[in-house]
Homo-oligomer: 198 residues x 4
DNA sequence: CATGAATGAGCGTTCATTCAT
DNA sequence: CATGAATGAACGCTCATTCAT
């Protein structure tokens, strides 16, 4: 099993997935694009889903590594959060088929597990940032778990709406909106609300 | 064309859709489950997509009617918002295949249009509540559009994560989380953030 | 069984057949156009083919009556032949779906029988004209049966090519061509041929 | 893709087409008769239409090659014409489903194109023979295009009537009739006609 | 290991006919 | 007689997977 061939197949698959999505990409197309026989795909990956799985694992791995490295250079928690959110957005925007699996839970059981563990690690990253914020006294209340969830939901919802948004807005605008919403979430939208209800 | 049979078919289709989703449910299965011939489905609905469309239209119609009725009984904007969010959650939780279409934009062009118009009406409802909140002085800043978007994203993200959450949490807990997050979004999570960035 | 209803159905079917042909016309469409229920068609005609059959029988009957009347006014055999040929062409051109059955032997066994008997009567008409021509001394040889067949084949071949011809030629041109070919067939194309081979 | 299997499939298809015609022959039937899976047909031919196309193309190719070779051995134009006509008849008689497409313009666009180009080449062959006849002084008038058309129509009409004729006549009789009619067409049937009308 | 020909269950749709009302 | 809802076999085609070479 030459590692080169493996990489060729994955590269070919990725290109096609990005354009058409895994569902609309046939195994024949991947094989043709990679310059190997269809059977070879099965020797290496066992199934079409296997290709998807491996591709996602790889890309997620790279993204998470880069994300962590990027966060190390930032000290302010809110800035860390904004940066992480924008990077996450960029990653999912770059690989829409991964976004589809992460957000929509498409694919087989293993893919969904992958997505699930990705989200759990993402939550961990946000949670750690929140902890730091609390230690620094930047967060006034103890409900950091709720805030963490809120951040994650906010991002997911925003990422979900990407296709719609991209029709009318530029990427920079969307990134600006992400930081704005996170800031808004931190600062609160209402005056009296907090006093009345919490 | 008896209305009873129409309902039987829709009921059978709904049951299957809820378990497998429209994509994985064959026309033969619907026909078998409804106890009619395949051709009968086409006499009533014209196409598989026609069944999906009618089912979604019906359910959305009922939900929106109930939602509006429920909101009329509430005067406080934040309470209105919480109620709307919980009702919306319940609706999508009850009909996961509608959630799939609404959230994921799955299905054909018609389904996506249905989803798109649903979301636009949903946004309208939230926006109207925000307007009222602003008129009452409950919202301190003028960016009510941004807040509206934030609310929608929050809900979508939360609804997206339903399947995962339902493994570990009870529905009541999730509903409580929804109201908590909306309140949090109103009151703000951080102390210094607002001052520093806005 | 009101005769009016019968006629309505046939009229509706004819209109549709002329535009789309029997194969592309559905029983539903005929019923709708005739303003009756689908089942009624079956009460009257037994099957879709039954409608086709009856329609053809009617039209052929009318055509043959008119044809014979027209021929009575002509005395010269060659002129009779030309007239018959042109009338036949006009008839089949006016009712392309009948042409399809007459020429292509489409449809069920009964329709094919209808077509077969039509052709046999047509041959009879031409044969009678040829007999008269021989009695008048207008035909030099005794092979009048062969000539009759030749005429029929010539017409059929020409009618077959109608669709193609109609793209490039006007109807008047085609009618002129018919008389020209019949004349040609009578007068002979070659000089030496006849002497050498017969 | 083994050529043997390709031939097997074509042979199976041909047998069925000859009995029922391409329209009434299902893909499943061809697959069953060929002893292969349905998918295999699509691997080899892409579509049902592809099978029809290939079959027709092959047969027409073989026929035209043989036809040309046969004509090279004959020098007299009238004899050439007779031979071509008889060969053409034999070909269409051997492959009735091809006759159906050639004569009736049945089938999809591609089949009709095939038929159209076949007829155009056939007309070319006849036209070339007529040219030669004129050069040799065997044809008395200049309307060789009209004569060519007449020949083609004659043949088509005759071939159309094959099914009927075969009930009552032997093939040899029909072939004799073809040569008789062509000779007749050359020599002319009437005495006075030519003088009166041309 | 590599190949790619072979597989076949599954898909949504059509429409002439039937038959209970 | 009239109705039209119900029928279901038949259609051409797809594509992830298998397996003999």
């Amino acid at each position: 099993m030459k590692a080169t061939k493996r990489r060729n197949i994955l590269a070919a698959a990725e290109k096609l997935f990005e354009r058409f999505g895994p569902a609309k990409t046939g195994v024949d197309e991947i094989a043709a694009a990679a310059g190997v026989a269809k059977g070879t795909l099965y020797n290496y990956f066992g199934s079409k889903e296997g290709i998807v799985r491996e591709l996602i694992t790889d890309k997620i791995g790279l993204f998470e590594k880069a994300l962590k490295a990027g966060l190390d250079d930032i000290s302010d928690p809110l800035e860390k959060l904004k940066s992480a959110a924008v990077e996450r957005f960029r990653f999912l925007h770059r690989s829409p088929y991964i976004a589809a699996i992460i957000l929509h839970r498409e694919g087989d059981a293993t893919s969904r597990e992958l997505a699930s563990s990705f989200e759990s690690r993402q939550r961990g990253i946000v949670a750690r940032i929140m902890d730091e914020a609390r230690r620094r006294g930047a967060i006034r209340r103890s409900d950091s778990a709720g805030i963490t969830d809120g951040i994650i939901y906010l991002l997911k919802g925003l990422e979900l709406s990407l296709k719609d948004r991209l029709d009318s807005a530029r990427i920079e605008d969307i990134e600006a909106e992400i930081t704005r919403l996170i800031t808004l979430f931190f600062s609160g939208a209402g005056k009296a609300a907090g006093k009345r209800n919490l």
